[in-house]
Amino acid sequence: MVSFKKPDLDSFQERIHIATLFVTFCFLLLVTRLVWLQLVSHSKYALLAESNRIALVPAPANRGLIIDRNGIVIGRNYSALTLDVNAEEVKGNVDQLINDLSEIIDISPRDRRNFKRSLEDSRNMGTFPLRSMLNETETARFMANRYRFPGVEIRARSFREYPYNELASHLIGYIGRVSQRDKERMQSEIENSKADDPDALQTSFLPGIQYVGKIGLEQSYENVLRGVPGYDQVEITAGGKPVRTLSSSPSVPGKNIVLSVDIKLQYLVEQLYGNFRGAFVAIEPETGDVLAFVSKPNFNPNDFVEGIDSVTWKELNDSPQKPLYNRPLKGIYPPGSTYKPFMALAALENKKRTASQTIFDPGYFDFGNHTFRDDKKGGHGTVDMQKSIVESCDTYYYMLARDMGVNMIADFMKPFGFGQITGIDLQGEAKGVLPSTEWKQNTFKKPEQQKWYEGETISLGIGQGYNSFTILQLAHAMANLANNGVVMKPHLVKAIEDPFTRNRVLTTPKESYRIELNPENIEVIKKAMIEVNRSGTSAAAFQGTGYVAGGKTGTAQVFSLNSKDYKHGATAEFLRDHALYIAFAPADKPTIVIAMVVENAGFGAQYAAPIARSALDYYIEGKWPKEVPEWKRAP
């Protein structure tokens, strides 16, 4: 028996032994694996686990308000319930989803277009509102059907709103969703600032920035208005459900900007323009505060905030009225006769004329083999400086221009800001043209074009020829004159306001420089301009004012404001002259100067001056014209 069993047992013991070895080998394999995972690759997996569990949730900062000089809010935020759709979860079947949703909630074709545009812009990443301003019924209906729509939720969002719609649209501008280009620009800003500010990356958490100022003050004061977006470090589950907030970097709201603009004045002027196109700038000469900055026609900036739909965009963009064009900032016009007071002052300062010196105007002026005509047939006869301004005598200025020469004119006009960037706090300002021999040399390519011809100087005297300035420049020059040569940089924002404490920090610039001018000479010009409104070209418009105002009308021949786009039928209207007007008031201590153009309106005295009169009446005396609806504060 034993001899039978013994080998069996040995064999069994031997196999148990082998099994033990096998087990040991396998366990060592496991230990190796675990050492590999937990010691060698620990840091890699630790990092993976961290990034697994932590998500940064942006907390956008409240954008600063835009407030006019009297405290009226013209750019604000409102909170509304929106229907948010997570783009990543609806890939592919957007239309089906919107169709399903529209069974319970009204979704307009515009909403649909806007949403799809956002999706495309974002390359299908992120969450976008499909509908905003949901009412209670809609909210309740959606909540009841919520299970049908994964990736769709109702959220409270803050929206930008311009409560007066079209009013001051070019000035305020608008914000829009951050585009890929904006992102890249901000990214590079951050990278550039990183060197000197180690916190830059943290403080400018990009995903928290969803909107950015695209144009107007919203654009130029973007960094003030935006604030610093915050973020929450949130622990999330595998399903992306937030569990708890680990750390929170609260957002810092943007600061309010307080404008120098009087929005009621702005409103009044916009109303007075009616259907006319044009630009109007009013400045407080002592400070450089821009009181009104009108560009007609306007657009509604609210259309742009959530992305303008293509139909509205096409309408605005293709309109021959050019509603998107910021005329006072970018439109360049020949100043016409409004240039004459400055020419006269130049003559006095350069001693090319005295105030009492007279010329004889036969109604024309011959230079070389060209005859320059005066507006008045038969001429103004004997003309001194005051009469030249009051009656707007062209011959006087043809002669003056000839006597001064192009460069003397340019040297005098330059410090007034003609053909110069004013430095106003808006982007995209046009420079215009202050002609000089040097300018011509630099501007043209062919040698025969580069040469300045004496004959080209003559029409400069009456604000024609190569002269072309923005209305902002004209207003700025008028302010410099009214301010006796003290130059203040024009600006639209006068203070930055803390949103909590309401403390205001003035941003108004100090005096830029002084133009050395003889006060007697200034008096001559101002007196002449006052006389313009008393007995001159704009006397009719300024009958019976309770204050003394100086002014000067102008009529500029139309050159090219995109004449190629003009429709054939409308040609006649678009070829009419532009009516210009400049003014200052009250004469003894001006608190407001105006420069304006009414495009294709005809004579300045007839169309522009009455608008200026109403504006001055309101600004100086508080009189509201009967024909204009009362200003109503937005609810």
Partner: protein, 383 residues
Amino acid sequence: MEKSPLIKMKAVFFSFFAGLDRQLGLILLGLAAVGFFTFLSASQNTPVQITDELRNLALSFVVMWIVSRIPPKWLEMGAVWIYALGVTLLVAVAAFGLIKKGARRWLNIGVVIQPSEIMKIAMPLMLAWYFQKREGLQKTWDYAVAIIILAIPVFLIARQPDLGTALLVFAAGLYVIILAGLPWKWILPFVCVAVIGILLIIIFGGTICAHDVVWPFVHDYQKHRICTLLDPSSDPLGKGFHTIQSMIAIGSGGFFGKGWFQGTQAHLEFIPEKHTDFVFAVFSEEFGLLGNLILLALFFALIKRGLAISASAPNLFTRLLGASVTLIFFTYAFVNIGMVSGLLPVVGVPLPFISYGGTALVTLGFGAGILMSIHRHRRLVQS
């Protein structure tokens, strides 16, 4: 002298535990403790209650205690019947089993049972019985018979399909056959083929895992599991997600672990089946390599003790049965840890005594009871 109640109680207590192998008992107690504490953390955010785990542990203990009282002779006598019952039930499953998650594994006989579970014990019982019966008379064709005994239920289970259980049952039977003396000249070729096969799969993983390549004999989902193992990142959010996330959990645990209840992967639901099959990832994340080494040491001690008990068992039946049951414990542990740590493909194998699950605990308790019984009755036989 009247015995004091305390001493009486003590006597009852000892007689209750009498015959239980102390070493094995302590190891099992250690594993059950690890299992319980891991369960507390891993069962967070699951519908499973602490009472469920306690009930399962108690049930497992009761099963072990009862089985430890059963003489191995009785098991030997019942082996064929248990096996026959198991196969009958498997046939019944194939005929009118319940289908869940695409597999026909369950049978409703008033309560829903999974007959393949019975096979895990029935298979070594049957084969050990067979070799005991043929002891001293063994011929080559005995192994052939043994392989048929093994193949029938494995085939039935594999076609449910339930590759994990089929492999375990197959392993349980194979251990008996090998330990019973299957000649090395038969074993070695298979080992060689297996090793070469695994190497080939690893080397040519890219080619054979291509979408349109159809593998013979295996289901599509099984092919996916193997391919995912070779390269989990090939499908990080789909088939590879489980493996990647459990590897992250283990790796991020480091040496000391994140601390009990502090595992982020586990508590933020990145680990699938975190209280059942993937519980090792939770344990690893929270207790680190240190905890893992202790756990592995416990399993190793369990296997060593089990093999020692089997080696000193009185007859072939108990020796084969004990060693096979012990190696089944090993297989569970190795396959589970290997799968959770990304060494082996994902198969539904629980970690013995740690994973939550009543059926597995009862089976394991039964196995532990067999070892206890063998140990207990060895002395009785010898004396």
